[in-house]
């Protein structure tokens, strides 16, 4: 895995992301500044970490989505490169048009910072091959604007093409409004693009990877990516 972590002013999870990528791949990811116009040669995965890029001014992720480096990310994705956006990274991917829809204010109006349960809807993506379909994982979440919204046509397309990869559920995998804490349409926590090489998700798998810190349910995502990229290389 030759990862590049994009660093925008105002994000705060880039080191968590870099640490996790290093942990699973034993390789230091490149930290790429928002004003750069190219990704390091040989990059095989780009990670857009969480935080508050540009203070979330205007709309979450809106300004970061138009930063110079995003042209390079767009080209990388168009060529089939893997792109992972977590939290603010998901918001940035939506604002950049690399994923459909938008992340709106949580319906409860509160910033929610706690562990949540996600049902992995499919295991046949590079991002979820470390899990079984239907498996429920526990990962932390920390956001005020994670309420996924799209027009009904887009939602129907996402569901029809099985592009909803993670959903907020109860610990047993059952859908219930009380577990869909941010009010996301169809309890959507993560989606992929049509080609399946761009994933955006609100919760933070990169924060649950080390036993010393608690659950390690997030590790499967990165371990799966490492194996996938290792095999491709």
């Amino acid at each position: 895995m030759k990862a590049a972590v994009i660093v925008f002013p105002g994000i705060n999870r880039e080191r968590d992301m870099a640490r996790t990528l290093k942990l699973v791949s034993d390789r230091e990811p490149a930290m790429v500044w928002h004003a750069d116009t190219a990704l390091p040669a040989g990059t095989d995965i780009v990670a857009l970490p969480g935080g508050f890029s540009y203070g979330d001014y205007l709309r979450c992720g809106a300004i970061a989505a138009r930063a110079p480096v995003m042209e390079a990310v767009r080209t990388f994705a168009a060529n089939g490169g893997l792109v992972l956006g977590v939290c603010n990274g998901f918001q940035i991917l939506c604002e950049a048009g690399l994923l459909p829809g938008v992340l709106m204010r949580n319906t409860g109006l509160k910033f929610v910072c706690r562990e949540v349960y996600l049902r992995v809807e499919r295991s046949d993506t590079p991002f979820t091959r470390g899990y079984n379909a239907g498996q429920v994982i526990c990962v932390p979440t920390a956001h005020g604007e994670g309420n996924y919204v799209a027009d009904s046509e887009t939602i129907a397309r996402l569901e029809g093409e099985s592009r909803v990869v993670f959903r907020y559920t109860a610990p047993d995998g059952a859908l219930a409004p009380e577990w869909n804490f941010n009010g996301a349409t169809n309890a959507i926590a993560g989606i992929v693009n049509a080609r399946g090489n761009v994933l955006g998700m609100m919760p933070h798998p990169e924060n649950h990877v080390e036993a010393a810190l608690g659950p390690t349910d997030g590790r499967g995502l990165f371990q799966g990516l490492e194996e996938y990229l290792d095999r491709a290389a």
Binding site: L58, R59, G101, V102, M104, N147, V149
Partner: protein
Amino acid sequence: MKAQVTVTLKSGILDPQGKAIEGALRSLGVGGIASVRQGKVFDIEIADGDRAGVEAKLREAAEKLLANTLIENYDVKLIG
């Protein structure tokens, strides 16, 4: 020349902030309000250009950045 770009949520898009403001107004005893939707106003000073050109520029600004047209409408108004 000055201009104002107003960005508002499309109808049908849930606006939790507007709802909270609506509730706060009600609890303040400000009666007769049926509903509140929150939006944004951008006051913009124009450096140069004719009216038609400026309006086109502002539409471009709104399309490219000021509004997310998936969920928001915008309105461009030239002043003076």
